[in-house]
Symmetry: C2
Subunit: 236 residues, 2 copies
DNA sequence: ACATTAATGGTCATAGAGACAATAATTAAT
DNA sequence: ATTAATTATTGTCTCTATGACCATTAATGT
């Protein structure tokens, strides 16, 4: 039999296949806390619960797994660019009542000031992490969020990735606070500033921000931060 | 409609779903070179080509994606333990002629002396990386191997992971050669030895190996290596 | 014995991190 | 205007792991 004939007779529906989805943890910074965008499920299964945005890969629309993730991000936030990273693929027979299911987990970091409220819509809400901890989400989405946060936390020790969460202009102290929140500990201002500045990941805008006391210089991302790895991780 | 009724009526075959597989790059060290285990495909598609071991998730047997990978590893090498790590999930409509397909890529590091020849079987062969480069493998498996090797290479700069490739006893010079091969550059013996020794990732066995000149002390892995990250990566 | 060679150790310079003190630029109060 | 309080920013020191390079050690072969 030729490959052509083989393919003609091949029907995926002759086999037991897993459910296959893409889920996204879209993270942003709201009032000094990490927030995750959740959508309210109107349909079974897990009807009435909150869930990560995501769903089945659209075989017509999506040219790749990552493209599916980008589509979800765009649908939910209106953002067509932004940091997006695949975290892990989790599959088991238990995680969805419909049967063996597998999800490719991504996370995205967005600057909340660039997300239009209208984009989010009434089915979606930003949830601070602290609130999510007390809430049973749909499927295994509590676990998925933990996995994504763990990845972000790991990356914050050896990259400047959290810059992706910041607005266009920010002070270094503000940036340090974000790192501290993600890492769950305080950092030495001097060491932190040296790292970020000598790596050339931010540059001064020339403006400054007066928040009561000595004004702080404002910086912007140089967009070099995504691939740049520090030669040493932040120590314990 | 209750969730029970919903699930009763749910049929995955009503939807277009991607093909979903797990593929494994099983890496070993043979005569000083990295080898990958390939299987010869007797069936369409890609009949006659060599491919990574892998295939569809068995919804009956596999309790998780990782369990599927462990099953493949066991089938091909007889090893039920060993280092196994998920690398990335790659999906697109192009990579398999049967349609939109997605594969969860894993890699495993095995000590070749613990793999029985009989286990490998006549359908499987160890291929050195250099030989694979000149060979068009099935599907996008050349790319998958590149991705797995890139991951191993990255990890070799900040973990002692390549120890997993070594036999029970080995000299530090032998270990250094393995790192050098993976990284594609030479390392300073002193710096390398300090790293590995002070991190407590290997311990002396008390034996030594006489290979012509001054005998070298033999070491074994302390099995602390999987999770141990060096506080600094090897420099460029 | 001596040259040879691989294994191993000694010493120093360096970069980047932590610790902590010092200085600078504001506002608020006197 | 002066001073206190507060936050931003910098100076300087120590520490550690690495790279570089050289010395020493323990075998082999002639």
């Amino acid at each position: 039999m030729s490959e052509k004939e083989f393919l003609k007779n091949y029907n995926i529906h002759d086999f037991d296949v897993p459910l296959c989805t893409v889920d996204m943890a879209i993270l942003s910074l709201i009032e000094g806390e990490l927030n995750v965008l959740l959508v309210h499920r109107d349909e079974h299964p897990s009807r009435g619960k909150w869930a990560l945005p995501g769903g089945f890969i659209d075989l017509k629309k999506d040219k790749s797994t990552e493209a599916a993730a980008h589509r979800k991000l765009k649908e939910k936030t209106g953002l067509s660019s932004g940091y997006l990273e695949q975290v892990e693929t989790i599959g088991s027979p238990k995680r969805d009542p419909r049967g063996w299911s597998l999800t490719v987990l991504y996370y995205a970091l967005v600057d909340i000031t660039r997300v239009k409220v209208a984009d989010v819509g009434n089915q979606s809400e930003w949830w601070p992490l602290s609130k999510i901890e007390k809430q049973k989400l749909a499927f295994d989405h509590n676990v998925l969020i933990d996995i994504a946060i763990d990845r972000l936390r790991a990356k914050a020790t050896y990259t400047a990735l959290p810059i992706e969460l910041m607005p266009k202009e920010f002070t270094l102290t503000e940036l340090q606070k974000v790192f501290e929140m993600i890492l769950g500990r305080t950092l030495q201002a001097k060491a932190f500033r040296n790292r970020v500045l000598t790596a050339g990941m931010v540059e001064e805008t020339g403006n400054s921000k007066i928040a009561g006391k000595r004004p702080a210089k404002l910086f912007r991302s140089t967009k070099a931060d995504r691939d740049t790895y520090f030669s040493r991780p932040l120590q314990e």
